[in-house]
Symmetry: C2
Subunit: 120 residues, 2 copies
Amino acid sequence: MPAITPLTATDEQLAAVRYNADGLVTAIAQDVHTRSVLMLAWMNAETLAMTLAEGRMVYWSRSRQEVWRKGDTSGDRQFVRDAFYDCDGDALLFLVEQEGKGACHTGEYSCFFRRFGDDA
Amino acid sequence: MPAITPLTATDEQLAAVRYNADGLVTAIAQDVHTRSVLMLAWMNAETLAMTLAEGRMVYWSRSRQEVWRKGDTSGDRQFVRDAFYDCDGDALLFLVEQEGKGACHTGEYSCFFRRFGDDA
């Protein structure tokens, strides 16, 4: 199993995160090795705190309205290697070590596997 | 000036994009050369069509509620080199050639220049 590396954010850093009306912020997961963008999902303050504390990506599932500890079911966990917030605090970027077959529930490595314009 | 490369998406591809209640979809811009994630912003159907047709990133500014043709003011345009939509169609990924000093209005190259945990 990849190493677990918790991150300790400062209060100031956490206060810079801006949540939307639903209490959510966008979170991008990028493969730390290949630099492929793996997926975009959402976190609330609770799952952001869990992500940093556990060193594992924990999202908020909007469809199921529940904590989504990525990989608990599939085994395809994402271990946090670096974490950033953007200039206006409403987007997060995580560099992760992707475990297993990939990030996507379809079996693809990245959720962004469909290209515009291929058939054009 | 970097080359302009319009993309012609099929009707099926465009129909796979799912917009939220405000008619918007998240759009990630990633540097095609360095693979750095530059920014996350939003598009509506109109600005997605403009982005593909013009080969330049055109966002929808939620704060100004207007078409935001990235770089028209700053000169820091983003030229599209590849474009993807994710497995459930509610996030877009663009590989871009970033012009000028970078993507961020602060003068940083990427909007994700603030790291969690540095001071911890």
